[in-house]
């Protein structure tokens, strides 16, 4: 469902940065809202919009700079992520935040999406726990603001505090501030190997404790997830991933294994099985099948994840599993109702955090706050922040609120 074919909107297809600038200038002048798309893989994220035109960035492609020994890559925003991943792979490097492939969860094909879309949604995978999220790896951007002005922020070096970090400020903004045209990312060596230690049969609460112990050790765990029995063929699995140089992984898995010996029966996943296991966790595959049930992505205090799930389960029928040591809860609402108030109140009572409605039909996303509502002063500040980039509200208007 790249939707390009189905669209009834008039599309603008910029071929160059200058075209993008001209398009946004026109939109700002005429106050015509634009929907910014790349490959359209994440179009079903966020609030539905009413826009007469799409700004289709898919022709602005190409890696413009890649220096593996400098750990830097720059690409046009419309560059397919898959192209970047493959290029890095050839040099034993990767985007360390482990970008999530949201296609399967949304009922789309896998491996779609552009670098611009990734940055705009800030969807990081399991390694976010150790390596940081997309925003932690964006070194610089060039963009066209909703005012119709080109601006850049950051640069191509890792260490840079020159001016405000607008690269972070645009990451995760769902295209509501500016149209990204060029993005510079930090790339890092890919681990030589990986193994996953599995603890079998833990309750959610015991799993939270096991994950906290593992993360608090010096085993350098790069993934900590828990799948309860109902989502894992009748057997609860707590996954702890170790990555790095072969002798290091071999030594750390022994240490971690003995540290957690008393927690429950253990298994180990070798490199190949480990990779597969973490794709399942990363891409929310346990919830890919049941298309009509809303899915939430909950960011919370890691040790509170299981308590939140437990409390919500007492009020409605949900399935849930945990990533990021419990700090990321994927929750499927099995009764088809998003139950936003129940979920958000529960999060509030458990140390705070936020919930984003990732999968839901258009009507539901229309009637529900997809993103966490903010306290009034912060909401007002966010609005002023947005208006200073896009005073006329022409870029993805209403996508975030």
């Amino acid at each position: 469902m790249t939707q390009k074919q189905q669209s009834t909107q008039a599309d603008l297809h910029p071929q160059t940065n200058d075209d993008v600038l001209a398009a946004v200038k026109w939109a700002a002048g005429e106050e015509v809202p634009l929907e910014i798309i790349g490959q359209g893989s994440k179009r079903a994220l966020g609030r539905p919009m009413q826009t007469a035109h799409t700004l289709d960035m898919s022709a602005l492609t190409g890696v413009t700079l890649f220096e593996p020994e400098e750990l830097v890559l720059s690409a046009k925003a419309g560059t397919p992520l898959e192209e970047i991943v493959k290029l890095l792979d050839q040099h034993n490097q990767e985007l360390q935040f482990e970008p999530m492939d949201i296609g399967p969860l949304l009922g789309n094909k896998p491996k779609l999406g552009t670098l611009g879309g990734l940055v705009s949604t800030n969807l990081s995978g399991p390694r976010r726990l150790k390596a940081g999220s997309v925003r932690d790896h964006i070194l610089g951007v060039t963009a066209v603001s909703g005012r119709g002005e080109v601006f850049k922020s950051g640069g191509r070096v890792v260490k840079n505090v020159t001016g405000y970090d607008l690269s972070k400020g645009l990451t995760g903004a769902y295209g509501t501030l500016a149209v990204l045209t060029d993005i510079i990312v930090k790339v890092l060596p890919r681990a030589e190997t990986e193994q996953t230690l599995v603890i079998v049969g833990l309750t959610d609460a015991d799993a939270a404790q096991a994950m906290a112990t593992a993360m608090g050790s010096n085993a350098e765990v790069s993934g900590a997830a828990h799948l309860p029995a109902e989502l894992n063929q009748g057997q609860a699995h707590t996954y702890l991933r170790l990555e790095g140089f072969t002798p290091s992984v071999a030594s750390r898995i022994e240490n971690l294994s003995s540290l957690l010996k008393s927690m429950g029966a253990q298994e180990r996943l070798d490199e190949e099985a480990s990779r597969k296991c973490w794709i399942n966790v990363r891409d929310c595959l346990p919830f890919a099948a049941q298309r009509d049930a809303p899915v939430w992505r909950v960011s919370c205090t890691p040790s509170e994840g299981h308590a939140i799930v437990h409390a919500v389960k007492n009020q409605t029928d949900v399935s849930a599993y945990y990533d990021w040591q419990g700090g990321l809860v994927w929750m499927q609402m099995n009764d088809g109702n998003p139950n936003a108030p129940i979920l958000r109140n529960t999060i509030q009572q458990h140390g705070g955090g936020h919930a984003t409605l990732i999968r839901a039909d258009v009507a539901t996303r229309q009637s529900t706050d997809v993103f966490q509502p903010q306290p009034a002063p912060l909401a007002a500040l966010s609005k002023r922040y947005r208006e200073n980039f896009d005073p006329k509200g022409v870029l993805n208007p209403g996508r975030m609120n």
């Binding site: 260490k159 505090v161 020159t162 501030l177 030589e192």
Partner: protein
């Protein structure tokens, strides 16, 4: 920067001084307001001591409510505010203004919560960087970013400056290690961003505030990530006949997939100054000295030490030592850590620069710097965070010689321009402050800077927070907000459509 222009003094504020002192004293009672000239002198500069200004009034609040009330009062009265942490900024970020309240956060010095299961600590902004590590060291944890001022600098200041340190290639800057903050806007609104969870909701205002140099808000609480201390650390001390060889060695280490915990390089003048000072046993017949520190599990460190040794030998290393115990490792670092005072010993004054360059440009930059050094007839020593390209040239000068400071600053500016020219940036970790303010157009276009200033307008529409810092030219927010488009006059873009 000798001819630094600061915002014009607000005479109406100066005229109301007695009244303002009384009003602030009502908000922050006791000794929280300092208005005596003699007592205010201690605050007249930060770590960039070449620049001094007597604050208008100094306020040391103790509670968030007081911070909010002070800011609200200043905002309503059109009074400028300069926030200050421990005052260790090397760029003049906390340089007072003669018509601005200096808001000193040093009384916010409590660790509020240590949460080991969630690997975070909630602290007040006046807690020192090293204070966080001390608070959690008992359980084997530490706070990773380690600016060289870590004994003194406060975490609130670290957030304001997005401070780095020698370990940031592997462990990140402040921005990558802060989970949440509470801050107060100039209007006195208290807001929270993030927390113990991993991502703050909505726009990444936390990312924007981190490194905003006190221009957007005053941080009143910080939640930081704490990490388990690596099991072990060992270091290699490697000398090279040329900086090219040293630079290539760094590139090869990284190409081999190794991200060392620390990777520092020094040039010949820095090596000699350090060795003369601390007798660390540094080789004196090399052009570049590289310290590579590997940390992590013992099995990994031992394995990588061998790999790095091989890479170094393939890059014509002329001397190579590997630490076999903690004492030896620390001795490798002793000279590097003492590099600044060591240079201070051989020159009456020194001026520390802070550009970042793509690593591969190091030989070019060093060569050009030597030319500049000859041209200005000023010596320069270089220490270099080799892993991330952050270069600290130390220009040696004597402030007592008339005109030499100005000449030094000119030399420094040339170096920073050179950094930008080769694809780098003006400041890697020290911040823009007042020091590099007027160089910002070297790196940014007018539109780049205007967009940044518009972000400031969202937080501080009257531009009362730390004015005169970061931006070379102040524009009024109303002017920045104006859109220069005219309906109908903008030609419809000639774009392929379907």
């Amino acid at each position: 920067m000798s001819g630094l222009m600061m915002p014009p003094l607000d005479q109406s504020v100066l005229a109301r001084r007695a009244r303002i002192v009384a009003d602030l004293s009502a908000i922050v009672p006791g000794e929280g307001v300092v208005s005596d000239e003699h007592a205010m002198r201690v605050f007249e500069s930060d770590g960039l001591t070449a620049y001094k200004a007597l604050p208008f009034i100094v306020v040391l609040p103790e509670t968030v409510e007081q911070v909010a009330a002070v800011l609200k009062y200043c905002s309503a009265g059109g009074i400028k505010v300069v926030p200050r942490g421990a005052g260790t900024s090397l760029s003049g970020g906390a340089l007072p203004l003669e018509d601005a309240v200096l808001l000193v956060m040093s009384k916010f010095s409590r660790v509020l919560d240590i949460d080991y299961p969630n690997r975070c600590a909630v602290v007040q902004p006046g807690v020192t960087n090293l204070g966080i590590t001390h608070a959690v060291a008992g359980e084997g944890f530490y706070y990773a970013p380690d600016p060289s001022s870590q004994i003194a600098c406060s975490i609130g200041g670290n957030v304001a400056e997005n401070s780095g340190g020698v370990h940031c290639l592997k462990y990140g800057l402040t921005a990558n290690n802060v989970l949440g903050i509470e801050f107060v806007t100039i209007e006195g609104e208290v807001m929270r961003l993030g927390g113990k969870h991993l991502e703050s909701e909505g726009y990444d205002l936390l990312g924007v505030l981190t490194g905003s140099e006190g221009l957007l808000g005053v941080v009143t609480e910080v939640t930081v990530r704490i990490l388990q201390k690596p099991e072990t650390a060992r270091a290699l001390l490697i000398g090279f006949p040329t900086s090219e060889d040293g630079g290539q060695c760094v590139a090869d280490i990284i190409s081999d997939g190794i991200i060392p915990g620390g990777m520092e390089m020094m040039d010949r003048p820095a090596i000699h100054a350090a060795e003369d000072f601390v007798h660390a046993g540094y080789p004196l017949d090399v052009e570049a000295l590289l310290i590579v520190e590997l940390d992590g599990p013992e099995a990994e460190v031992d394995y990588l030490i061998e790999r790095v040794e091989k890479i170094a030998r393939n890059n014509k290393s002329s001397t190579l030592r590997i630490s076999t115990n903690e004492e030896e490792r620390l001795s490798f670092w002793a000279g590097r850590k003492a590099a600044f005072p060591a240079v201070g010993r051989i020159s009456p004054d020194y001026y520390c620069m802070d550009g970042t360059i793509p690593r591969k440009e190091l030989p070019t930059v060093l060569a050009r710097m030597r030319e500049l050094s000859n041209h200005y007839n000023l010596r320069v020593a270089n220490v270099f965070h080799a892993g991330d390209g952050n270069l600290h040239p130390l220009i040696l000068y004597d402030a007592n010689i008339p005109g030499e400071l100005a000449k030094t600053e000119e030399f420094g500016a040339e170096i920073l321009k050179l950094c930008v020219e080769v694809g780098g940036v003006l400041t890697g970790e020290h911040g823009v402050g007042v020091e590099k303010r007027d160089l910002m157009p070297e790196m940014f276009t007018e539109d780049d800077l205007k967009q940044q200033q518009r972000v400031k307008c969202a937080f501080d529409p009257d531009q009362l927070l730390n004015p005169g810092k970061v931006f070379p030219q102040l524009h009024r927010c109303a002017e920045l907000g104006r859109m220069h488009v005219h309906r109908g006059n903008v030609p419809f873009p000639d774009l392929p459509r379907f």
